[in-house]
């Protein structure tokens, strides 16, 4: 089980802020593919992954990152703080 978090418009498209997902995905990209196949709302959120950023266990990383031993994955748009 991995906690998956969504922020900003990714959250709005998927409709939840956080969910526990039972997955065998080896990488972030695999997880995204798996989610995309589940329901349209995921497909809509991940339609253009170049517009989505990912953090694994609260560290920014990329879609090749492995998921072995990971507790938390978060998807969100490019950040706009400051």
């Amino acid at each position: 089980m991995i906690d998956v978090l969504y922020f900003a418009w990714v959250r709005e498209r998927i409709g939840v802020a956080r969910e526990a997902i039972d997955t065998e995905a080896a990488t972030v990209a695999d997880l995204v593919d798996e989610l995309r196949g589940r329901e349209d709302r995921y497909a809509a959120a991940f339609a253009d992954v170049s517009a989505v950023r990912v953090a694994v266990d609260q560290k920014l990383t990329d879609f090749d990152a492995p998921l072995a031993g990971v507790r938390e994955v978060a998807f969100f748009p490019p950040m706009t703080g400051g």
Partner: protein
């Protein structure tokens, strides 16, 4: 050690700068940056800032630690709001203190560049004609190339 605060209420810019300046008394140079909610000619009603609890604090602490080490700062301050803000309110501030001005300026710019593109905040604007997430500016990402 950097002073980092994530808050959901307005903060008092001047009072914060006075307190910071007093706390870093041996420094000769203090620089501050403040971001303010623009009213965009009266079209912006409010801004909402979402963030990633846990990661936000860690990211801000790491950015501030980097700045302190790279430029031997006497001190650094980061305050960032989340939640609902209205035009004219301060979104955030950074302040840096160093022996000479060049270090204080460059460290403040470094903090801002990283805070814009590497701290997990997202702004959503409510305008007269609707609501939209603020898009990241390409120059904010390219600004990181400087460091």
């Amino acid at each position: 050690m950097a002073n980092i605060r994530l808050i959901d209420q307005p903060f008092r810019l001047g009072a914060e700068l006075d307190a910071f300046s007093a706390a870093v008394a041996p420094a000769g140079a203090v620089v501050s940056f403040t971001g303010v909610v623009r009213d965009e000619g009266g079209t912006l009603k409010r801004m909402e800032i979402e963030h990633y609890p846990g990661m936000t604090e860690a990211a801000l602490a790491e950015i501030a630690r980097d700045a302190e080490q790279r430029w031997s700062l006497v001190g650094a301050l980061v305050i960032h709001r989340h939640g609902i803000l209205y035009p004219g309110e301060h979104i955030m501030m950074v302040a840096t203190a160093a022996r000479h001005r060049a270090e204080a300026f460059i460290a403040a710019e470094f903090l801002m560049d990283y805070l814009k593109s590497r701290a997990p905040f997202w702004k959503k604007e409510t305008r007269l004609d609707g609501t939209a997430w603020v898009a990241a500016r390409e120059q904010d990402e390219t600004a990181l190339g400087r460091w």
